[in-house]
């Protein structure tokens, strides 16, 4: 049995216009220590999938098991890096990270918790800015804090919901490289949600393509045959990279044209997640 098992996951939202079936039976597995990406168009239901695995939203049908235990509620063993950072603006960088460290390690002495906090801040290269509030940070720095906080939860599985989508291209590339380095050091099991095919190939061991909603499902996983440690440079020239990219793009194109046979694709409204 896989480390993370997701079976037949369905979720619909009731809105004014009727019922929107966002996920129509999602299956997915993750092994321990694996880095898996889910790639799909905007609005296809990726955030819903993350919210379900996080336990922030309950599914209509289907099952989620992590390390054998069924997921019924949120918990730090499924740490999240939210798309919109969700840092607490009244806390400093240190305060935001410490909140997670303290919540997860209540039994540790204060000095040890402080050491863990500083270690995580150093891991994401934010030590010089540790006293700053989120509003004083750039988007890239905020997302580093969010990554540090996610890791502070010492999660069995780290969920990353389009973590870099709000960043400019250069910052995005820098953070991808850093995530690659951090993952190399920590080997946390990661599920990355993204709409960027190249980001997924650069970072992940396996990639699930997601069909556009409604009733989104995942296609068969595509193995990324690139050796680690990976370097961004020259990678796009490697045959394994080209192969993975082609397979992904083909699947996503075909899925979209099945949905909308006429020219242009209908933009799916981003499902608003009525959490709680």
């Amino acid at each position: 049995m896989a480390y993370l098992e997701v079976r037949g996951l369905r979720k619909s939202y009731r809105a004014r216009g009727g019922v929107t079936a966002v996920l129509g039976g999602v299956d997915l597995t993750l092994d321990e220590g694996e880095f898996v990406a889910v790639v799909g168009y905007s609005g296809s239901g990726k955030t819903t999938l993350v919210s379900l695995i996080a336990g922030l939203v309950t599914p209509d049908a289907g099952e989620i098991r992590l390390d054998g235990a069924p997921v019924t509620e949120p918990g730090p063993e499924r740490g999240i890096v939210f798309q919109q950072y969700s840092l607490l603006p009244w806390l400093s960088v240190r305060g935001n990270v410490a909140l997670a460290v303290d919540a997860v390690n209540p039994a540790l002495p204060a000095s040890e918790r402080r050491r863990l906090t500083e270690e995580l801040i150093a891991l994401v290269n934010l030590t010089p800015a540790a006293w700053k509030r989120p509003r004083e940070l750039s988007g890239g720095m905020r997302q580093r804090v969010a990554v540090a906080r996610g890791l502070a939860m010492q999660p069995k599985l780290l969920l990353m919901d389009e973590p870099f989508s709000a960043l400019d291209a250069l910052t995005r590339a820098t953070l991808q490289d850093e995530l690659l380095r951090i993952w190399g050091e920590r080997r946390t099991t990661v599920m990355l949600i993204t709409n960027d095919v190249d980001e997924a190939i650069l970072l992940a061991d396996r990639i699930y393509p997601m069909t556009p909603g409604p009733n989104a499902v995942l296609g068969p996983a595509i193995e990324v045959g690139l050796p680690r440690p990976r370097q961004r440079r020259h990678m796009s020239l490697e045959p394994a990279y080209q192969k993975a990219r082609q397979a992904l793009v083909e699947f996503l194109r075909a899925a979209r044209s099945r949905l909308a046979p006429t020219a242009g694709h209908p933009r799916q409204p981003q499902p608003r997640a009525p959490i709680q």
């Binding site: 922030l56 509620e73 949120p74 918990g75 999240i80 919109q84 909140l99 509030r133 939860m153």
Partner: protein, 256 residues
């Protein structure tokens, strides 16, 4: 001349001068009993230039009278916050509490201080606690309502952080709900302070206790109309300063 000085100093001074002119004209033509600006100044000078003299219970410098009023407002305002803040949090946090008490809040909010004061006198039998009771009862609503709105508009993102970290109810309250609500709470405090200062005059007038409002009413009864204007201007000036001070506090807790 820099544009800034012009906009921030010259224009307001011109406005004030205009009001003085209208006041002088009205007192010279329409309302002969209304003292002119010059006469008001002459008859009030001592109360302003020697603000802490005391000739008797009801004849004291403006500084003294304002101090009495401020102490009274301070007590009433503190009581309003002490009652209003927890009620606001409960209204925001508990649906059941909201359903039970929101109609009462909406019902009591528009009741005038003039209506509460006699009731306060009946309950407390003394003017001082009755005045404080009235101030608190009238001034607490903005705090109650703003706090409740603040709690209910906390971003779901912040609450999700608490849920993922499995924070306890009290930790969530202390680390997330209260800090996230604070800007709203302080907006409520500022509005409450403004109301408290509005109410003080009415309650002093009705109870005849020494203070700016009491002085105003007494001078009306003894036909010293220039002192009515003096009191009105004092009330305005203090209200303005209080609002600015609370505005500074409010700005400090406001987060991006």
């Amino acid at each position: 001349m820099p544009i800034d000085t012009y906009q921030k100093v010259i224009l307001p001074l011109l406005g004030a001068a205009g009001v003085l002119v209208v006041w002088a004209i009205v007192s010279a033509t329409l309302a002969p009993d209304l003292p002119s600006p010059l006469r008001t100044w002459q008859e009030s000078r001592r109360y302003i230039l020697d603000p802490f003299f005391k000739d008797g219970e009801m004849n004291q410098g403006m500084g003294r009278l304002a101090f009495y009023s401020l102490v009274r407002v301070g007590k009433g305002f503190a009581l309003a916050l002490a009652i209003g803040t927890p009620i606001g949090f409960l209204l925001g946090l508990s649906r059941r509490f909201h359903q039970s008490f929101d109609p009462i809040v909406q019902f009591m909010r528009p009741i005038s201080p003039l209506a509460w004061l006699p009731l306060g006198l009946v309950i407390f039998q003394k003017s001082e606690p009755a005045a404080i009771f009235t101030i608190a009862l009238c001034a607490m609503w903005p705090t109650v309502i703003n706090t409740a709105v603040g709690v209910r508009s906390i971003s779901q993102d912040y609450l999700n952080v608490g849920r993922v970290l499995k924070l306890s109810r009290t930790t969530t309250l202390r680390r997330i709900v209260i800090p996230a609500t604070l800007p709203y709470v302080f907006t409520g405090y500022r509005l409450s302070l403004g109301l408290a200062w509005l109410v003080i005059v009415a309650s002093e007038m009705l109870t005849g206790t020494p203070g700016v409002g009491g002085f105003l009413w007494q001078e009306y009864n003894s036909l010293v109309y220039s002192h009515i204007i003096l009191s009105v201007l004092t009330i305005g000036a203090i209200g303005f300063v209080l609002d600015r001070l609370m505005g500074l506090v409010e700005a400090r807790v406001r987060i991006s």
